[in-house]
C-alpha cells in the first residue's frame, strides 16, 4: 500500500466546479454540486456515498451519459489524453451524442454497471457483444476481434472461454456475467474505467474474486479506475484515493490511509463508525442520526448540519463550507477545519 509513491502527477480527468441539475416539474434536483475532482492516470479512485448522494451522476457526467432531464448546469470537465502533452479536451462542451464523444467512449472511457443482467443484451451472445465493442474501438476484422475476445474472456477468468463466448447471458451465473461485462468494458483498451457498484448484486465469495480481478486488470492495463460504491470495505480493497460524497457535495477527499486513519469530516467519521467491526464484538454501533435530506430540499448552510453533532450555530447554518486542504492532499469541506473558525475563537 504505497499509494502515495505510486501516484503520478499526470492528470487524466479534471472536474472543475461541476454542477449537475435534474429539472422536473416539481422542482430541480441538484444531483452534483460544486464538485472539484482530479483523476490521475493509472490511479484507482474510490467514490463513496449513500444512495442519492450523486456518485453515479458524477460518473455519468464524465462519460456524457447523464439520463434526461439531467444536464451540466455549471462547471467544466476536462480530459487530458495520454501521450499528448498539454492537449486538453473540454468534455462538458462536447455534444454527448456527437462523433467526438462517441469516439472517446468507444476507445478511451468505459463503464461497468451494477446489474450485468440489465446492462448486457439478452438476445446477443456475450461474444458478439464484446466483438461489437472491439470492432468499434479498434481497426480489427471480425476474426481478429473474436480471437481477442477469447483472450479477454480468459483474462477475466472465464473458464473454457472458447466455448463460453457463444453463450447467452442467461446461461451464465451472476459472477460470470459480471466478468463478461468487465471483458466488454475492456474491449477498447480504455484509459479510464468506471466501475459503478460492480459487486453490489454479487455474493461475498464472488465479490472478492471480482475485486481482485479489477485490481489486477487495472495494473495490467495501466488504466485509471473510478470505483463507485457505498461499501467502505470494497473501497479499502481497491482504491488508492477516496472521495466521499454527501447529498451532491464531495465533502472529503484524501488518500485511503488518511480517510480511514484520520477522517476529518463528521460524515466520513460517522460512516466508518457505523460499520460493525468483524474482529471485535460488543461495541454498540454508532449510527448517524436522522436521514438523508429530501432531493428537493434546500438546506441553509452545510447540507450535513441537520445530522451533525458538532454543528456550530451561526456558522454551519450560514453557507456551505468551501474546500480546505488540511494536510497535503487531504481536502475537507467542513467549518471545523476552517481557519475562519479558529480566528473567531
Amino acid at each position: 500500500m504505497t499509494a502515495a509513491v505510486k501516484k503520478t502527477d499526470t492528470k487524466l480527468i479534471e472536474l472543475s466546479n461541476l454542477h449537475v441539475n435534474f429539472k422536473y416539474r416539481q422542482g430541480t434536483v441538484r444531483a452534483v454540486k460544486e464538485a472539484n475532482l482530479d483523476i490521475f492516470s493509472g490511479e484507482s479512485l474510490g467514490l463513496v456515498g449513500e444512495s442519492g448522494s450523486g456518485k453515479s451522476v458524477t460518473a455519468q457526467s464524465i462519460l456524457g451519459i447523464i439520463p434526461t432531464p439531467g444536464e451540466i448546469a455549471e462547471g467544466e470537465i476536462y480530459y487530458f489524453p495520454e501521450g499528448e502533452d498539454g492537449k486538453r479536451i473540454t468534455l462538458s462542451d462536447l455534444k454527448s451524442k456527437g462523433k467526438e464523444f462517441r469516439h472517446l467512449r468507444a476507445r478511451k472511457f468505459s463503464i461497468i454497471f451494477q446489474e450485468p443482467m440489465s446492462a448486457l443484451s439478452p438476445i446477443h451472445t456475450i461474444g458478439n457483444q464484446i466483438i461489437e465493442a472491439m470492432m468499434l474501438a479498434r481497426s480489427v476484422n471480425k476474426k481478429e476481434a473474436r480471437n481477442e475476445a477469447v483472450k479477454l474472456l480468459r483474462k477475466v477468468g472465464i473458464p473454457k472461454a472458447e466455448e463460453r463466448i457463444d453463450e447467452y447471458t442467461f446461461n451464465l451465473s451472476g459472477g460470470m456475467r459480471q466478468r463478461a461485462m468487465i471483458a466488454m468494458a475492456l474491449a477498447g483498451e480504455p484509459e479510464f474505467l468506471i466501475a459503478d457498484e460492480p459487486t453490489t448484486a454479487i455474493d461475498v465469495t464472488i465479490q472478492a474474486q471480482i475485486l481482485e480481478l479489477l485490481e489486477n486488470l487495472q495494473k495490467d492495463f495501466g488504466m485509471s479506475l473510478m470505483m463507485i460504491t457505498h461499501d467502505l470495505g470494497v473501497i479499502a480493497a481497491v482504491a488508492e484515493r477516496v472521495a466521499v460524497m454527501y447529498n451532491g457535495y464531495i465533502v472529503e477527499k484524501a488518500f485511503l490511509e488518511n480517510i480511514f486513519n484520520n477522517p476529518l469530516h463528521p460524515y466520513t467519521k460517522g460512516l466508518i463508525n457505523s460499520i460493525p467491526d468483524i474482529k471485535k464484538t460488543d461495541r454498540k454501533l454508532v449510527s448517524i442520526e436522522g436521514v438523508v435530506p429530501h432531493p428537493y430540499a434546500r438546506i441553509k448552510g452545510c447540507d450535513f448540519r441537520p445530522r451533525c453533532e458538532k454543528s456550530i450555530e451561526g456558522i454551519c447554518d450560514q453557507s456551505f463550507p468551501s474546500e480546505i486542504e488540511c494536510e497535503k492532499d487531504h481536502f475537507v469541506r467542513c467549518y471545523l477545519y476552517n481557519e475562519l473558525e479558529d480566528d473567531k475563537k
Binding site: M1, E50, S51, S173, G174, G175, M176, D203, V204, T205, Q207, A208, Q209, L211, E212, H230, D231, L232, G233, V234, I235, A236, A237, L256, E257, I259, F260, N261, G270, L271, I272, N273, S274, I275, P276, D277, I278, K279, T281, K284, L285, V286, S287, I288, E289, V291, V292
Partner: protein, 342 residues
C-alpha cells in the same frame, strides 16, 4: 446464553420444490431448497443464518413461519412450557401461532401496502388476530411507533412519505404489534444505506433487550451477522455446514466453506489486503447436487471420501455447554485459518 430454553426447535426440516417440464408437465426433478436441517433458537437469543444467495436461507425462514409448508421435518414452538407442533397447525391454531412468531422483510418498499396508512399497516395484525376496538388499536399503534423511534403523529401518513430506514421501522412496529416471542428477520438491513443500517441494528438490539425477543436473523453480510448474533448457522446449498456461537465461528472455524467466507469479507481498514480463498467453480445447482459433500467440488481439502460419502453435522465442541456443529469429514484434522489470519 447457554441456558437451554428453546423457543423454537426444528428437526430434519426439508422443503423441496418440484420442477415440472415437458408437454405433460411431468415432474422431472426437485429443487432441494432446504434439505434436512435442524437447529434451536433459545428464548431471547439471536441466531444468525448466513449463506450465499440461493442457499435456502429465506425458504427456511418462510417455512418456520408456515408461509410455506415443509416437505418433511418437524417444527416445535415452545410457548410458556407448552410445546406446539407448528407443522400440524391449522386455522385458528395457526393464527394463534402467528401472534407469537412474526416476520420482518428485506425490502421496505414492497413489504408495505402503498394504499394503506401507517395506522392501518401496523394496526392490521391487531385487528385480524386480536379483536381490539378502533380506539385501542389507535393508542397501541401510537405507542408502537414511538417504541421504534417514529413520530406518533405520522400515523395517518402513507408509506411513500417515509424514507427507507423509516419504512423498515414501520415493518418492525408491525412485527412487534402482537407482542411476539420470535421474529424472523429476513435481510432486514441489506436494502438500507450504511448509516441507516446501524440505526436499525441498534433498534433491533434495544427491542430484543426490552421485550426479550428471539431473532432468526437471516443475512449475507458477515460483519452485521457477527455483530448481532449470539450463535451463527452457516448454510450451503440447502444444508447447514456449521453451527456454533459467533466468537467460536470466527476464531475457530471447522468447515472449509466458513473459512472461505471469512477470507472474502472486505474490511474498511486502510492497510487490509483482501486475500480471499478463491473458490473454484460455482455454487451447485440445487436441482442437481454433487454426490457426497456438496462443497467438495470447490473445496481445497477434498479427498476421496468427500465425493462418496456425505458428512454428517456432528458436534465437535470441547464442552457440553458450547456445542460446535460442523459437517465435514476432516473437521478435526484440517487446521483452518480464522478471522485474524486473513
Amino acid at each position: 446464553m447457554n441456558v437451554d430454553n428453546p423457543v423454537l426447535e426444528i428437526r430434519n426440516l426439508k422443503k423441496y420444490f418440484p420442477r415440472y417440464s415437458g408437454i405433460f408437465r411431468r415432474k422431472t426433478g426437485e429443487v432441494k431448497a432446504v434439505d434436512d436441517i435442524s437447529f434451536k433458537i433459545n428464548s431471547g437469543e439471536t441466531l444468525g443464518l448466513v449463506g450465499e444467495s440461493g442457499c435456502g436461507k429465506t425458504t427456511t425462514g418462510r417455512t418456520i413461519m408456515r408461509d410455506l409448508d415443509p416437505t418433511a421435518g418437524e417444527i416445535y414452538f415452545h410457548d410458556n412450557g407448552k410445546v406446539i407442533d407448528v407443522v400440524k397447525l391449522e386455522g385458528e391454531k395457526l393464527r394463534e401461532y402467528w401472534k407469537k412468531a412474526r416476520m420482518i422483510f428485506q425490502d421496505p418498499y414492497s413489504s408495505l401496502n402503498p394504499r394503506m396508512t401507517v395506522l392501518n399497516i401496523v394496526g392490521e395484525p391487531l385487528k385480524c388476530l386480536k379483536s381490539m376496538s378502533e380506539k385501542e388499536i389507535k393508542n397501541k399503534v401510537r405507542n408502537l411507533l414511538e417504541t421504534v423511534g417514529l413520530d406518533a403523529r405520522h400515523a395517518e401518513r402513507y408509506p411513500f412519505s417515509f424514507s427507507g430506514g423509516q419504512r423498515q421501522r414501520i415493518g418492525i412496529a408491525r412485527a412487534l404489534a402482537l407482542d411476539p416471542e420470535l421474529i424472523v428477520c429476513d435481510e432486514p438491513v441489506s436494502a438500507l444505506d450504511v448509516s441507516l443500517q446501524a440505526q436499525v441494528i441498534n433498534l433491533l438490539e434495544e427491542l430484543q433487550e426490552e421485550f426479550k425477543l428471539a431473532y432468526l436473523f437471516i443475512a449475507h453480510d458477515l460483519g452485521i451477522v457477527k455483530h448481532i448474533s449470539d450463535r451463527i448457522a452457516v448454510m450451503y446449498v440447502g444444508k447447514l455446514v456449521e453451527v456454533t456461537d459467533a466468537e467460536t465461528l470466527f476464531n475457530f472455524p471447522l468447515h472449509p466453506y466458513t473459512e472461505a467466507l471469512l477470507s472474502s469479507v472486505p474490511r474498511p481498514e486502510a492497510d487490509y489486503e483482501l486475500n480471499a480463498i478463491s473458490l473454484e467453480g460455482e455454487v451447485p445447482d440445487p436441482l442437481d447436487r454433487p454426490p457426497g459433500c456438496c462443497f467438495h467440488p470447490r473445496c481445497r481439502y477434498s479427498q476421496e471420501i468427500c465425493i462418496n460419502q456425505e458428512p454428517e453435522l456432528k458436534n465437535y465442541g470441547q464442552n457440553e455447554k458450547n456445542p460446535h456443529f460442523a459437517a465435514c469429514h476432516f473437521a478435526q484434522e484440517i487446521n483452518l485459518r480464522n478471522i485474524d489470519d486473513f
